[in-house]
């Protein structure tokens, strides 16, 4: 058990033409205070949906959590009323998104966008909120913070907007910051600045960060612990050192192998054959079986469970767990 957030057997389904399609089925992970945890996976693996479900932000979409629990401190977020949930959003858990260009209100001044939330959650008056807002802009390294307060988002560059987004997210001093692909839309030199800023915030303020990304490099440079997702499932969890040193799941191995690495050039890259299965027609058994170089008969028949090894590492692979152990668990 982690002391901040525990996601347990999360299941999310989308409605499509009256059919319910499970895009997330079996996601377990946790975050402790002050820790940076990465969720990594390719497009369609369910990582973004998972992060939205923590904030319960499927408002307009047809997505819905159909099972599991999301324990934040003492509360199960899925049990809260919308009103109670609103007191958590932005105050205790804040979120930043991939698209800095569109995530800010284009017709509202930066200052107002900051102040609104501060007044709502911290109960400060306008003057105090304004001071807090300027302080936040300074925290995220925005020069001339006072004058930026009176500007509109379109007057800022992409990197600056992402800094403003972080300032907004941090303005009520949340305990958990969810960052969904925060640097994907940015150039590398700007990405480096934003990652450095996020690490600084975690260090100085003790904010836990959940970093959703597809980029293994970003994970390796920023996270303490990593959760790997594939086809709506968590397939492996480990500390960042362990994961890159000795990945257990063949998917993780393939993923790490297939990234070209600077200073470690090979004539041919390893590539995982085939494609991610379609969520509308998931095969039985392990979802990676059709692409796995070590596939066994059992893999096509039964799906392995996410099992915790003695050293705290978790994996969902028949290579590292026996059926007996698995059955013993279901019985017990």
């Amino acid at each position: 058990m982690h002391n901040l957030l525990n996601v347990n057997n999360l299941q999310i389904a989308f409605r499509k033409r009256k059919k319910s399609i499970k895009v997330v089925n079996g996601v377990d992970f946790g975050i402790s205070k002050g820790e940076i945890v990465g969720i990594v996976g390719e497009s369609g693996c369910g990582k973004s949906v998972t992060s939205l479900s923590i904030m319960r932000l499927f408002h307009d979409t047809s997505g819905e959590v159909v099972g599991g629990t999301i324990q934040f401190k003492e509360k199960d977020l899925l049990e809260l009323s919308e009103r109670e949930m609103r007191r958590i959003r932005g105050k205790e858990i804040a979120m930043i998104f991939q698209e800095p260009m569109t995530s800010l209100n284009p017709v509202m001044k930066i200052g107002k966008q900051l102040i609104q939330g501060i007044m709502l959650h911290l109960g400060l008056n306008r003057e105090e909120a304004k001071q807090q807002a300027v302080e936040m802009l300074k925290l995220v390294g925005i020069p001339r913070a006072e004058s930026i307060m009176n500007e509109y988002p379109h007057q800022l560059s992409g990197g600056m907007r992402q800094r403003v987004m972080i300032a907004i997210a941090m303005s009520c001093e949340p305990e958990l910051l969810i960052a969904d692909e925060p640097t994907t839309a940015l150039d590398v030199t700007i990405q480096a600045q934003i990652l450095q800023l996020m690490k600084k915030i975690q260090r100085e303020r003790g904010t836990a960060i959940l970093l959703i990304t597809h980029d293994l490099g970003v994970v390796a440079e920023s996270c303490d612990r990593v959760v790997v997702m594939y086809a709506g499932r968590v397939v492996e969890e480990a500390t960042v050192e362990e994961l890159f040193e000795s990945p257990l799941h063949p998917y993780t191995q393939g993923l790490i192998e297939s990234v070209p690495k600077i200073g470690n050039r090979k004539e041919e890259l390893y590539s995982i054959p085939g494609h991610v299965p379609n969520p509308e027609a998931m095969p039985n058994g392990c979802k990676f079986a059709s692409r796995c170089p070590y596939v066994m008969d059992i893999c096509r028949e039964r799906e392995p469970q996410l099992v915790s090894n003695n050293n705290g590492r978790k994996q969902r692979c028949w290579l590292h767990q026996s059926i007996k152990e698995e059955e013993r668990k279901t019985i017990g």
Binding site: H59, P106, G117, H121
Partner: protein, 306 residues
């Protein structure tokens, strides 16, 4: 912003000239000899020449245009052939009731239209939305003159509540303005709804929700402003619809306005009056759209601050 204003204002000047030139040509586009048409079948050559002279049709075209523009700048719109009254006088009597009717119609249409649009967007695909949108699509499909006639049948003939025409009391404005505004209200309702629904899907709305704002704060504090910006433009375009509609509706209600004057003049081939009316209507429309453009620039910070 200053640049934007100057650009817009300068931008319409050539348009005004082209439009005025086309309308000047109007009388020359009538097939056959306009003077003969105006004078009627039984007229002799002398009468035709008199009309030609009165309309300056016997002068070279360029001179006619210069005179015409010169007169236009001095507010001289010529003289009615039928009644021999200066056109400016004819229009002067009617412009005020017409403007009152237009403003009244667009005002209620905007208020109700935006309201229905907002309610529909908030309750998207639920019953308030369905009712709102059925009303709206019906409003767009209703012929305004028929709506007018049906209202006369109900409120004047059957119930005797409202006058069938005339503007002696404020009651005279009620039915014309409903007939005139219904279509516009419907258009604005539909557009407001789709604009607001679009805005509610934007990323920044998700940002707002992730900060714990309530649904009402999101709709009224964040989404409404950006979704109303395009609605302003649409309302401006609807003004053209309004001007056109007023011609028909004024006829239905025998409303003493510019629209009915236009139709009467066309029927009587009173070309100077028709020409002046077309000019006024077009200028009014161009002017309204200029105002809308400026308003758009003012509401949109991307333009206001660049």
């Amino acid at each position: 912003m200053k640049k934007y204003i100057v650009k817009r204002i300068l931008g319409i000047i050539p348009l005004l000239f082209v439009v005025s030139f086309l309308i000047f040509l109007f009388i020359h586009l009538v097939p056959g000899d306009p003077a003969r048409l105006i004078a009627g079948k039984d007229a002799d050559l002398q009468q035709i020449n008199a009309i030609k002279h009165q309309l300056h049709l016997d002068e070279p075209l360029y001179k006619q245009y210069i005179d015409y523009m010169n007169n236009l700048f001095h507010g001289n719109l010529g003289e009615s052939i039928k009644s021999k009254v200066p056109v400016s006088e004819l229009i002067g009597e009617r412009i005020v009731p017409s403007l009152e009717l237009s403003l009244l119609s667009i005002a209620w249409a905007m208020v109700i239209g935006v309201l229905i649009g907002i309610i529909s967007a908030i309750f998207k695909n639920r019953w308030p939305d369905n009712i709102g949108m059925i009303t709206a699509v019906s409003g767009i499909s209703l012929p305004n003159f028929w709506l007018g006639l049906v209202m006369i049948q109900i409120f004047s003939v059957k119930l005797g509540l409202l006058p069938t025409g005339g503007i002696e009391t404020w009651k005279g404005y009620l039915m014309p303005s409903i007939a005139l505004g219904a279509g516009i209200m419907a258009m604005i309702a539909r557009f407001t709804r789709s604009s607001l629904v679009q805005t509610l899907k934007e990323d920044f709305i998700r940002t707002g929700r992730s900060r714990g704002y309530s649904g009402l704060t999101i709709v009224f504090g964040h989404a409404l402003r950006s979704s109303l910006i395009p609605v302003v433009t649409v309302a401006g375009l609807q003004f053209g619809f309004l001007l056109g509609g007023s011609i028909v509706v004024e006829t239905v209600f025998s409303f003493p306005g510019m629209g009915r004057l236009l139709i009467n003049s066309i029927q009587m081939r009173d070309y100077p009056v028709v020409q002046a009316e077309l000019m006024l209507f077009s200028f009014e429309f161009i002017l309204v759209n200029l105002i809308v453009d400026l308003l758009y620039g003012f509401l949109n910070p991307k333009i206001r601050y660049d």
